[in-house]
């Protein structure tokens, strides 16, 4: 039944991406929304290539983010460097398995899910496949919703760095891994913002 519903494209209409106003598609270059003055586009501009570029950049930073330690704990000459994963394991062992699951989800599952989901969305909309459109639309909204929770570990390191300042007794320092991780999260957020979910529903003829 949903196949019969008209799309803005077919009716010569454009919904303003910023304020939602329904505008007539004049086909003119550089048209602006009469209400909020934002540029009107049928689809987000260069959605496919932008998303792909941002996603690849994010993935390249994601490797050092996981391999390099994100935090150093030094106490009385004893130095302990933690990566994201070893931080999760430590939390599990030291008595908070439930919190370890939350951190594991935010820092490892969510970024991986974003890479896989956006990769899948890009590939499938490039091929204009009708396969599981509704599910793919939902997957995109899930990625949008949970994406920014990955910043969790970055904030944990920032707080511990500010709090654990006991000189030689105990000291926490941030290590480069946390910078790479923060940038990964930001880039994946930009990637999911530049993907246009309308592409999921577009046929082969309306690529880009």
């Amino acid at each position: 039944m949903s196949q019969d519903l008209p799309r803005a494209d077919e009716l010569g209409l454009i919904g303003c991406h910023v304020c939602g106003l329904v505008c007539r598609d004049t086909g003119a270059e550089g048209a602006h929304c009469p209400r909020c003055h934002s540029a009107l586009h049928r689809r987000k501009q260069a959605s496919y290539s932008r998303t792909l570029a941002l996603l690849l950049a994010a993935f390249m930073l994601y490797i050092p983010a996981n391999v390099l330690p994100i935090m150093r704990t030094a106490s009385v000459g004893d130095i302990d460097d933690n990566t994201i994963l070893s931080g999760v394991i430590e939390l599990w062992v030291k008595g908070s398995p439930d919190l370890a699951v939350i951190v594991f989800t935010a820092s490892i599952v969510v970024p991986m899910l974003k890479f896989l989901a956006l990769g899948l969305l890009l590939w499938s909309s490039r091929h204009a496949t009708p396969w599981a459109r509704r599910q793919r639309a939902k997957l995109y909204r899930l990625v949008e919703l949970i994406g920014y929770w990955s910043m969790l570990d970055v904030f944990v390191v920032a707080l511990l760095t500010a709090l654990v300042r006991f000189g030689v007794l105990s000291l926490v320092e941030p290590l480069p891994g946390v910078v790479f991780f923060g940038l990964t999260v930001i880039l994946t957020m930009f990637a999911s913002m530049s993907f246009d979910p309308r592409l999921i529903w577009d046929g082969r003829e309306s690529d880009d």
Partner: protein, 203 residues
């Protein structure tokens, strides 16, 4: 097809609908992609304004008071959000420091001030000066405020620190918890309807 006909376009799949007034508690969903098209809003402009003012007061509290204090052999150290931001800057993680300052301080503050500005005038049935720019800025700020993530981060930091240190919770953490609740209420408000709630004066 007349331009006056109220239409609605699903921003997720581009499907066009005729608009209908929603009853209390109703949510309109897209038949094609199941995204939420519109919700019925219980909150009027006045209530939204009151919420923003409350959020601002809580935000000030959350930033003024320390969040937690750690103790080790008689030595006590506490921090505020800005303490953490400054410390990250000094510890050669300037990028992280800027990310935190933007997503936890400047963007949330900007969002509240813009919304407060727009709603203050909307209450009097007027469009605020710079209404259009404020609305576009609010749209752009969209997902870049992360106070609720920070609260969970503080919780994780507390649990990690508890193994080695004495941990004392300070008012800041409770203010942050309250702020998270207020943000959840805001999350369900579609700011776009303000375009229609405060129509342009034919001046």
């Amino acid at each position: 097809m007349a331009d006056s006909q109220p239409l609605l376009i699903c921003e997720h799949c581009d499907t066009v609908y005729r608009r209908r007034e929603l009853c209390c508690g109703e949510i309109a969903r897209c038949l094609r992609c199941d995204a939420i098209l519109e919700r019925h809003h219980r909150l009027g402009v006045g209530a939204m304004f009151a919420l923003v003012v409350t959020a601002m007061l809580v935000f000030v509290q959350a930033n003024v008071w320390p969040i937690v204090t750690l103790g080790l052999s008689g030595q006590m150290i506490s921090t505020t959000l800005w303490g953490a931001i400054v410390m990250m800057w000094r510890e050669h993680s300037q990028i992280v420091s800027m990310l935190a300052a933007a997503t936890l301080f400047f963007f949330p503050l900007g969002k509240m001030l813009l919304l407060g500005w727009v709603l203050f005038f909307a209450q009097q049935g007027r469009r605020a000066p710079g209404f259009r720019l404020a609305m576009v800025a609010l749209y752009r700020l969209g997902p870049w405020t992360m106070s609720e993530v920070f609260v969970l981060g503080a919780l994780v930091a507390i649990v990690k620190a508890r193994v080695y240190f004495e941990v004392i919770l300070n008012p800041g953490i409770f203010a942050y918890a309250a702020l998270t609740l207020l943000i959840t209420v805001f999350a369900s408000i579609d700011l776009r309807r303000l375009w229609e709630l405060v129509p342009e004066r034919s001046a």
